[in-house]
Symmetry: C2
Subunit: 354 residues, 2 copies
Amino acid sequence: MEEFEDKGGVGRTELENLGEFGLIDRLTQDLPIHNPQSTLKAVGDDAAVLKVPEGHVQLVSKDLLIEGIHFDMTYCPLKHLGYKAIAVNLSDIAAMNAKPLQVLVGIAVSNRYSLEALEELYAGMRLCCDRYGVDLVGGDTTSSVSGLCISVTVLGSALPERVCYRSGAKENDLLCVSGDLGGAYAGLLLLEREKREFLANPNVQPDFKDFSYVLERQLKPEPRTDIVDLLARLDVKPTSMIDISDGLASEILHLSKESSCGCMLYQSKIPVDAETCKALEIFNILPEVAALSGGEDYELLFTISQKDYEKIKDVPEIRIIGHMVEAAQGNYMVPENGTMIPLTAQGWQAFNKR
Amino acid sequence: MEEFEDKGGVGRTELENLGEFGLIDRLTQDLPIHNPQSTLKAVGDDAAVLKVPEGHVQLVSKDLLIEGIHFDMTYCPLKHLGYKAIAVNLSDIAAMNAKPLQVLVGIAVSNRYSLEALEELYAGMRLCCDRYGVDLVGGDTTSSVSGLCISVTVLGSALPERVCYRSGAKENDLLCVSGDLGGAYAGLLLLEREKREFLANPNVQPDFKDFSYVLERQLKPEPRTDIVDLLARLDVKPTSMIDISDGLASEILHLSKESSCGCMLYQSKIPVDAETCKALEIFNILPEVAALSGGEDYELLFTISQKDYEKIKDVPEIRIIGHMVEAAQGNYMVPENGTMIPLTAQGWQAFNKR
């Protein structure tokens, strides 16, 4: 995490002294091009010019991140925020079983932010772009009345026969998940606790030792493009796929609905990291609750045909957590002993009063 | 303008009663597909799936529109705002001499907005998409702490040899503009005057008769995709092109800088509509000042080789307004009689205190 260390004391240059074009020039100077055959013209004109690789289709997605809704500047460093803004978008392309190639970034900021603050934000964005071989090809920078609004558009490509939709799952397909779940939510709980304590007594230093993994899960999620590559190497094409942004329950219900299936999820198979469990204990939250409803893990959830079972059964990064059934059977979590629990989407509801 | 008439009394459904997915379903239901060979999968998955037409390159651009910065809800009806949000993005693709095919829309709204308000916004977006044969293929809907934030991404395509950059202008090329200028600024001045009068006395009815053209220029600009088609029919490929969002002066300076040229602009050739002149007179503003610095006209500014002069000289929608010179000569407006006036970018500066 060396590249995330706070350098401190970087000064303050007011945005109004730069103007819109000056700011864009500063933020986008020396951008590397990782995909020269696809990125023909990046920033600097009315639009970016791209070439989709021969025979490929293109994937496009976008996400908005709003201060006070998706992030809290009290505990979210700008560099991490920039990294996360890119990462969650790359995750949408991975969720189509495709490779992200380009991003465009729009930001609206109030004068409360300095040039140096935005440079930190962009440094995090660049770091994520560099790590995943993605080009930042354009965007828009403007002012806002209050707060920070980040809009990222991501473009990627895949051979058409490799693209995975939410709608392809069939009865008896195996339900699989990458990595482990609930960590991002555990990290959020820790950060919110520290915020409350900080507001009560600003002299208290945060005590985050032993929780670096869950904090990183919350502040700096990684898109699972490696799983896309792994599935290609294993010669497995998922029948359906989605990324886990709103919690496992909500995403399972999306796959089931779009595929006209039901699903049986085996409670004991849900992968939760030991550190996540330890952090959740502090808040008296069961690991499966965090996995089902916590959100922001950005792991991939997908279904595979039973004929592919042998290919993935020993892959450590992939866990089989259930199977699809006919729609009439519904969607349930199946404990080892006990009553089946109906799955409900208690995921993140953007418009609820919270 | 029948489709822009206020239907009134549409009720109020709170967003929190719908949830994020319910809202997205409502706003994106029954979206038509105008480009079935290019738009393979629109809304409803983690990303849209597109196919760029054979042999074409792709153009991508994005713009943010922020309440209180780019629009004022006091006088900007939501349906017009939706139309404009799409139109200004299509204009960016036209400015590359390309055809827009798809848009993605992200909106962040506070609970102050109702479902019906957002439906009005989307109705305007759909109207513009339908008029220009563009597909709405995805997006993101979330809440904001305050106000409305609209993020639009536009995708288009062109044969690579038809793409026009800002950087291709050569010495002696002719500088051309479509349509007429200053109208959008004149419309803004009228609307701001009415706002002041309304705030002073809410019983005063706005007096907008005789000014429908300039109001429409401000509230409902049209992207000049027709000029892109016209140039193709005339077999003219501009050597450089840009759209006029920030005012003629600022855009000329962009073309000059990116092309390493200077420019002589003939003051008497700048096209300004009679109604625009009449509106500007109320505010004691010279027509050329509004054209140079007003912004938001969304006309196309481009340069052509002198060999193409005969092809465009009698086209009513295109005016030759100057010519490019070597960089050392600088950028000037040339009056019929008098001293040459250096062009400076007094365009819209997003971060100025206003």
